[in-house]
C-alpha cells in the first residue's frame, strides 16, 4: 500500500510521540485535586464542594447542568452543594475533565476514521458503563473511580492518531485476519507503540493518581495490571466493551479487541445481567450527553 508520508522508524515515532505528550497542557489545579480526592474512599461531599467553589467557571457550569431538563430537578438548584448532590460526584468529574480537555477529546481521529466528538462520546459511554457495572457488581471499587477511569481510558488515541494516519486499512486487515490479534496488537506491530502506552505517558505527564494511570495502561490487558488495581481495570475493560457493543466507539477499532474473562474472578454479570446493563447504559448515556452538551 502506498503511503504519502515517508515511513518513520519506530524510534523516530516514539520520540515524536513523547514530544507531543510533553507539549500537552497540564491539567488545571482544580481537576488534579478533584481526581486526587475521588481516588480516596474517605472523602466527603464537603471536600468536593470546597475544591469546586474555587473555580467559578466550573461551579457555574455544574449549576447549569444540574438545572438542565435532562436532570430534571424538582425545584431550582441554587447551591453548589445541592448541585453536586443532584448530579453525583461522577458527573462533576466528567464536567471538570470535559471542560479543560475539550481540545484533546474532541479531536477528529483521522487514523481511526473517527469524526470529531466520537472519542469523547466513547469515553463518556465507557465511564457510564463502568459506573453501572461497578454499582451492580462490585463492592470494593468506588463508582467515582470507575467513572473517571472510563472517561480517561482512551486519551492516548488523541496523540497516537497522527501516526496511524494512512495505515488504517492495514490495521483493520490485521484484526480481520482471524489470527487472534486485536487492534492493540496491530498498533504495536505497525508503529511499535499502542494507544494504551501513549495514554500512560500522558497520565504521567498529568500526574494522575496511580489507579487511573493503571486503567489507561492496562484497559485492554487487565490481567497484566498490578493485583491491587486489577478489579478497577477489569471494570473499565468491560465498560469499554459495553460502550462499543452499543455502537459508541471511535471508528475503525470499534469491537476489534479481545475480552479478558478474568473479570469473573472479581464479579459476575448473571444471565440477564448483560441486556439489563446495556439498556440502562443506553438510557443514562443519552441523558448525560444531552445535559452536558446541550449548551
Amino acid at each position: 500500500m502506498a503511503t504519502l508520508t515517508p515511513v518513520l522508524q519506530e524510534e523516530a515515532i516514539a520520540e515524536l510521540i513523547s514530544e507531543r505528550v510533553s507539549n500537552v497542557p497540564l491539567l488545571p489545579h482544580v481537576v488534579t485535586r478533584l481526581l486526587g480526592i475521588m481516588g480516596r474512599n474517605d472523602h466527603s461531599l464537603t471536600d468536593v464542594v470546597k475544591i469546586v467553589e474555587n473555580d467559578l467557571g466550573l461551579a457555574s457550569r455544574i449549576l447549569r447542568v444540574a438545572n438542565s431538563a435532562a436532570f430534571s430537578p424538582r425545584q431550582g438548584i441554587s447551591s453548589l452543594q445541592q448541585g453536586i448532590l443532584h448530579l453525583g460526584e461522577k458527573m462533576v468529574a466528567g464536567i471538570a475533565i470535559g471542560s479543560c480537555t475539550a481540545n484533546i477529546f474532541n479531536r477528529e481521529l483521522i487514523g481511526y476514521e473517527s469524526s470529531s466528538g466520537e472519542l469523547w462520546d466513547h469515553c463518556l459511554r465507557t465511564a457510564i458503563a463502568a459506573r453501572e457495572i461497578t454499582a451492580s457488581c462490585s463492592r470494593r471499587v468506588s463508582t467515582d473511580l470507575a467513572f473517571t477511569g472510563g472517561l480517561l481510558h482512551d486519551v492516548g488515541k488523541a496523540i497516537i492518531d497522527e501516526f496511524l494516519n494512512k495505515r488504517t486499512q492495514i490495521l483493520t486487515a490485521m484484526c480481520d485476519k482471524g489470527e487472534g490479534g486485536d487492534f492493540l496488537d496491530a498498533e504495536r506491530d505497525s508503529i511499535g507503540i499502542d494507544h494504551a502506552d501513549v495514554g500512560f505517558a500522558l497520565a504521567r505527564h498529568w500526574n494522575l493518581p496511580p489507579q487511573l494511570a493503571a486503567v489507561i495502561k492496562f484497559h485492554h490487558r487487565p490481567v497484566e495490571a498490578d493485583p491491587a488495581q486489577q478489579e478497577l481495570v477489569y471494570l473499565v475493560h468491560l465498560g469499554d466493551i459495553l460502550a462499543m457493543l452499543g455502537g459508541t466507539g471511535t471508528g475503525a477499532d470499534t469491537l476489534s479487541y479481545k475480552i479478558d474473562e478474568g473479570y469473573q474472578r472479581y464479579f459476575q454479570l448473571g444471565k440477564d445481567g448483560l441486556p439489563i446493563l446495556l439498556l440502562k447504559i443506553e438510557e443514562e448515556f443519552t441523558r448525560a450527553k444531552s445535559a452536558v452538551f446541550a449548551e
Partner: protein, 160 residues
C-alpha cells in the same frame, strides 16, 4: 425528502423517492430492513436486545428496542404506509461482537437468533445478511432504488 436517521430502538418507513433511511454505527444491534418492491416502500428497524421480558415498560414505550416487540411494529408501519399485500424482502445487518472465543458477551448473536425466530413466525426470512464480525457498521437504504449499502470505518463500503 432527505436522510432519516433511525436511532437505537426506533423504526421508520418511507415511500418518498429521494429519501435515504440510515442507521449509524451498529455494534451488537441489528438493523432489520424490509422492502416492498411493488409499492416502493422501505422500512428499517434498529433492534438493541432480543427480548422485552427484561423491561416490559420499555417494550411498550419504545417497541423497536427489542426483537419481539420491534418486528410486529415494523410490519404495522409498513401496512400504514400502504403495504397491504405483495412481496416483502427482508435483509439483516449488524449483530457484531467483541473478540470473544467463549461467546459469553455475544449479545449480537442472541439478537440475530431472536430476530430470525420472530421473522419465521410471520413467514418471513432474510434473503441477504451481513452479520457478526468484530467491527461496527453504518447502514443506508435508498428508498427510490431499494439499494442497501453498508460501510465500516477502515473497511470501506459494500452493497447488501
Amino acid at each position: 425528502m432527505g436522510i432519516i436517521y433511525v436511532g437505537v430502538g426506533e423504526l421508520a418507513a418511507s415511500r418518498s423517492p429521494g429519501d435515504v433511511v440510515k442507521i449509524l454505527a451498529l455494534g451488537s444491534c441489528v438493523g432489520v430492513i424490509m422492502l416492498a418492491p411493488q409499492q416502493k416502500i422501505v422500512g428499517l428497524l434498529h433492534v438493541a436486545l432480543p427480548d422485552s421480558s427484561i423491561n416490559a415498560k420499555r417494550g411498550i414505550e419504545k417497541p423497536g428496542t427489542f426483537a419481539d416487540t420491534g418486528i410486529p411494529q415494523l410490519l404495522n408501519e409498513l401496512k400504514k404506509m400502504g403495504h397491504l399485500r405483495g412481496k416483502l424482502t427482508v435483509k439483516l445487518a449488524g449483530g457484531a461482537s467483541i473478540m470473544d472465543p467463549n461467546n459469553t458477551f455475544n449479545i449480537g448473536k442472541r439478537n440475530i437468533l431472536a430476530i430470525k425466530k420472530i421473522l419465521w413466525k410471520f413467514g418471513l426470512g432474510a434473503i441477504a445478511e451481513d452479520l457478526g464480525g468484530n467491527y461496527c457498521r453504518t447502514l443506508s437504504v435508498d428508498v427510490d432504488s431499494g439499494l442497501v449499502t453498508i460501510s465500516s470505518p477502515g473497511r470501506g463500503t459494500w452493497p447488501l
